[in-house]
Amino acid sequence: MAENVEYMIAGYVAMALILGGLIFSIYWRYRMLLRDEQRIAQYESEEQVLASSAAPTAPVRDDAPPPAVAPDRSETVPGR
């Protein structure tokens, strides 16, 4: 019987490395995108603060409509 255990080990190590690399690549890109999403949310909130501080203050009337609230878009991501 052929003595070739080292090739079997090399084959399984290669399989583990490629499969691990594929999984890690998906995981890493997902982490980077989540970081991007956080940055965008932070930027948007900073913009809102700047916009509200720059707006001229008007006297509050009793019959004024309630302030508009930005829609929650967290559930609009397809497939999440």
Binding site: A2, N4, V5, Y12, I26, E37, V77, R80
Partner: protein, 239 residues
């Protein structure tokens, strides 16, 4: 009450656990349940992951064909996302097939690589799908990119069929095959019940792994598209 999205996330989590458990069990079967093959020795154990990973790649490339046809009929971008995800996972799994095959070939054929029909056809297949990834990345217009990817994904599948069929029709191939071929009408090696059990378990495991990875890749692409839309919204607000 759970929402549709929460239900799918839970399903994916369960599928991930199942894939991990199946993978560990498959490795245990490869190393401990089945013995070394009488003529090829320990290197024959590579066969289980070699064939399993090819089945996973086949699932990916087949899904890309389905996605391509559905996209061309509906123009719904979700089918393009499925096509891209399937090809990427299929390409990764077919890389495992090629590399593990090389480590098997060295002790059995005395070379890592030879340009025999099966190895040549699998190289063509791998290059065809690598080209898919590169070419679609080079097209700026989203609609044109999706249409190109759909057509390419369907056409490129001919290289997969070619790879599957070639060892049955070419008499000059030295690649082993289960069952009779033109090159070896009696078959290359005998399948014992333990080899058969281990092979089918590995095929099933890699099938589950392929589906799980494609699903994660779809979620990644959906998140990417969502962030791109938010960036565009921000830019248009500033403009």
């Amino acid at each position: 009450m759970t929402t549709y999205a929460e239900g799918r996330t839970r399903l994916l989590r369960n599928l991930t656990y199942a894939a991990a458990i199946l993978f560990v069990l498959a490795l245990l079967m490869d190393f401990f349940y089945v013995g070394p093959e009488a003529q090829q020795g320990e290197a024959q154990r590579i066969f289980y992951v070699h064939l399993g990973s090819f089945l996973g790649a086949f699932i990916g490339f087949t899904a890309a064909v389905v996605a391509g046809i559905r996209y061309l009929r509906s123009r719904d971008p979700k089918w393009d996302t499925l096509g891209l995800s399937s090809v990427e996972v299929g390409l990764g799994l077919s890389t495992i097939t090629i590399v593990t095959g090389m480590f098997w070939a060295k002790p059995i054929w005395n070379v890592y690589w030879t340009w025999e029909p099966r190895l040549t056809s699998v190289t063509i297949m791998w290059l065809a799908y690598a080209a898919y990834m590169m070419l679609r990345a080079g097209i700026e217009d989203p609609e044109r990119r999706r249409r190109f990817a759909a057509v390419y994904g369907i056409v490129a599948f001919s290289s997969v069929l070619f790879t599957v069929i070639i060892i049955r029709v070419r008499p000059d191939t030295i690649h082993p095959a289960i069952g009779p071929t033109q090159a070896s009408p009696e078959g290359e090696f005998e399948i014992t019940p333990r080899i058969r059990d281990t092979l089918f378990f590995n095929l099933f495991t890699f099938g589950v792994i392929a589906v799980t990875l494609i699903w994660y890749r779809i979620r990644l692409e959906n998140l990417f598209l969502h962030i791109e839309r938010r960036k565009m919204d921000l830019l248009s607000q500033e403009g």
